[in-house]
């Protein structure tokens, strides 16, 4: 299956300055009854985005004009904690985000994101604090050099698992990669008790 490649992402930021945003907030459980991957973008942050009658909440950032078209979300520490639902990165992707920046991510969410071409970018606490303070700034994320470039030209390096980076840059399909190791799998099974 062709996996889209990622090189650079250039966009203004949208900021949700809340710590520990869990996957139940990103996509509430009632949207998990789908058997496809479609239509999840509408459910993204649903209970923060909409009133009970379905009208948008004007004070939520995604409903404000300056958020239109932004591809980079900056959020508080420990983003994506909670359940293993891959619907969370699917919803963020479908909404239009290509990267999330935080000071840390929950493990399963980070893994799920990397498998779906949503880049989880971990920056040091001081940079994180600045990004939280200045919503809407234009930044550039370059995967090959693992850098975030701020408006003044200052660059910050971010860590990423080298294999995940390779997969994202080259569009490597992980399942295909595992299947190439059939001989090793068969050998393991032969000696498995």
């Amino acid at each position: 299956m062709p996996i889209p490649k990622i090189q650079t992402i250039e966009s203004k930021t949208v900021v949700i300055p809340i710590e520990n945003i869990d996957t139940d907030q990103i996509i509430p459980a009632r949207f998990l009854k789908t058997t496809s991957m479609e239509g999840l973008g509408e459910g993204l942050f649903c209970d923060w985005r909409y009133n009970a009658d379905g009208s948008p909440k004007p004070d939520f950032v995604l409903n404000q004009p300056q958020a239109k078209g932004a591809e980079i979300l900056v959020a508080g520490d420990n983003f994506g904690c909670g359940s293993s639902r891959e619907h969370a990165p699917w919803a963020l992707k479908q909404y239009g985000f290509k990267a999330v920046i935080s000071s840390s991510f929950a493990d399963i969410f980070r893994g799920n994101s990397l498998k779906n071409g949503l880049l989880p970018v971990i920056v040091p606490a001081d940079i994180h604090a600045e990004l939280l303070r200045w919503p809407g700034i234009q930044i550039k994320i370059d995967l090959a050099s693992q850098t975030v470039t701020l408006p003044g030209g200052r660059t910050i390096e971010f860590p990423i698992d080298p294999f995940a980076k390779h997969c994202l840059l080259e569009g490597v399909d992980e399942l295909g990669y595992i299947q190439q190791q059939e001989a090793a799998i068969a050998a393991y099974e032969a000696k498995r008790v």
Binding site: M1, I18, K33, D47, D77, S83, I108, L175, I178, E189
Partner: protein, 471 residues
């Protein structure tokens, strides 16, 4: 595997036993012994297999059950009220048939929450690698297995290849010494642990629960603790196997028998952590000092003793933590500084993969016996599996619950995540034995206090948050 005689933890031993291949610059390829499936996180994975013309490699190591969007009132499909849920359940039925996977469906007397079913049927065994598209897979770690939640892409990888690309986790020892006081339970231990380390405290780690207080726990209690490892941010949590483990397993449907049992036992006895093995992190708690715990906020780390007071934002030094607490108290509509005990509630939920096994139902029933659910409270008792349900009925627990005014349901996740129609109304407060109190987790606008079955049942009787020891 060569280990150069280095002392290893249980998790490291299981890891070493399951490495299929290692290539430079890539994560290790790990073999999976047991893959558990349910209706919510598998449909897209089966679609991937179908699109690529792939088979399930080891249907014999794959098992499915229905739990998340499963009704706990009726067992008939389609669910007239819920076409989307019906479609999802039907799709699992179809996928299991097409790919040859054993399924415990709504008609099966073995259906139930995936993390309750695996252990009670003896599928969960020491030394195994176990995965499921569900973050509470850590529950199975109670048997000395390396068990962790995966996303739907990885569900597809395991279905097709029985393998996963993984990097090793850091071992984190959580040692609980001493003895629990009367009325303090396994749930209180894990809520106290998470309150201490925070919900991100175990990121990239596997917890190993050790110490005399853990050794003294039953398997069901160990499952309650391992279950909530993810709430501490860990990938997995486990307890090294011992005689308690082996006694629980002996004779269960899928446990090895005869000579196979003896051989398995010999292997399992190699699993406990070696003397001198090194942990990356450590937390030590004294069981004697623990109290019944309850959460007041919107993540499982926001917990205090039931007898405690709601923290005040002004007392927090960290500004972000203060903002989070303010936000949580606003959502929960709670006054800082006020005691938790005595706060009015609307709903009590006894259930979920954390606390829905027979011992949990017995604990709740012991409180309800001869008492009534407060007229201002709705109480739901949802067994974790149909086997648990049958056992509860055989012991007359269903009658105790019904006589008290509680509802006694069929098995499923139910109000733990409110996908099946069982949910809180906006603004309602619940005391729940489940594992997550995130905003809206139990229904949009609902407010959840997490606690043990004892605290939940006692609160159902009085209609306010109550320490069961005060009844």
């Amino acid at each position: 595997m060569s280990t150069n005689g280095r002392p290893r933890t249980t998790a490291e031993k299981i890891w070493d036993n399951h490495v299929v291949a290692e290539r430079p610059g890539a994560p290790s390829l790990i073999y999976i012994d047991l893959h558990l499936c349910h209706e919510v996180t598998t449909p897209q994975a089966f679609s991937t297999l179908r699109a690529r013309g792939l088979k399930v490699r080891r249907p014999d190591l794959t098992v499915a059950t229905m739990d998340h969007s499963t009704p706990t009132t009726s067992r008939e499909l389609p669910l007239l009220m819920d076409p989307a849920g019906s479609a999802q359940l039907q799709q699992l039925e179809d996928n299991c048939k097409e790919f040859g996977i054993r399924l415990y469906n709504l008609k099966s007397d073995k259906q139930g929450i995936v993390h309750v079913v695996g252990p009670e049927l003896g599928m969960t065994q020491p030394g195994m690698t176990i995965v499921c598209g569900d973050s509470h897979t850590a529950t199975h770690g109670a048997f000395g297995a390396l068990a962790f939640g995966i996303g739907t892409s990885q569900v597809g990888h395991v279905l097709a290849t029985q393998c996963l690309l993984q990097v090793p986790s850091k071992p984190y020892e959580i040692r609980v010494d001493g003895a629990l006081r009367n009325g303090v339970t396994a749930k209180d231990i894990i809520l106290a642990v998470i309150a201490k380390i925070g919900i991100g405290g175990g990121t990239e780690c596997v917890f190993e629960y050790t110490g005399s207080a853990i050794r003294a726990l039953s398997m069901e209690e160990r499952m309650t603790i391992c279950n909530m490892s993810i709430e501490g941010g860990a990938r997995a949590g486990l307890v090294a196997p011992d005689d308690t483990t082996y006694q629980y397993m002996a004779g269960r449907e899928f446990a090895p028998k005869g000579a196979g049992w003896d051989a398995a036992l010999a292997r399992w006895k190699q699993l406990p952590t070696d003397e001198g093995a090194v942990y990356a992190k450590q937390l030590i708690l004294n069981a004697d000092q623990l109290e019944p715990m309850i959460t007041f906020g919107t993540n499982p780390g926001m917990g205090i003793p039931v007898s405690g007071k709601i923290p005040t934002p002004e007392s927090m030094v960290d500004l972000q933590a203060r903002a989070d607490l303010e936000k949580a108290l606003k959502y929960m509509d709670l006054q800082p500084g006020r005691p938790m005990a005595g706060h009015p509630i609307n709903v009590v939920f006894v259930g979920s993969c954390t606390n829905s096994r027979i011992s949990d139902l017995r604990a709740a029933a012991a409180i309800m016996k001869g008492r009534k659910v407060s007229p201002t409270v709705r109480m739901l008792v949802v067994p974790g599996s149909m086997q648990v349900r049958q056992q509860a009925v055989a012991e007359g627990l269903d009658k105790i619950f019904r006589d008290s005014g509680a509802e006694f349901r069929e098995a499923g996740c139910s109000m733990c995540l409110a996908m099946n129609g069982d949910q809180l109304e906006p603004g309602e407060y619940s005391v729940s034995t489940s594992n997550r109190n995130f905003e809206g987790r139990q229904g949009k606008g609902g407010r959840t206090f997490l606690a043990s079955p004892l605290t939940a049942a006692a609160s159902a009787v009085t209609g306010v948050v109550t320490d069961a020891r005060s009844l």
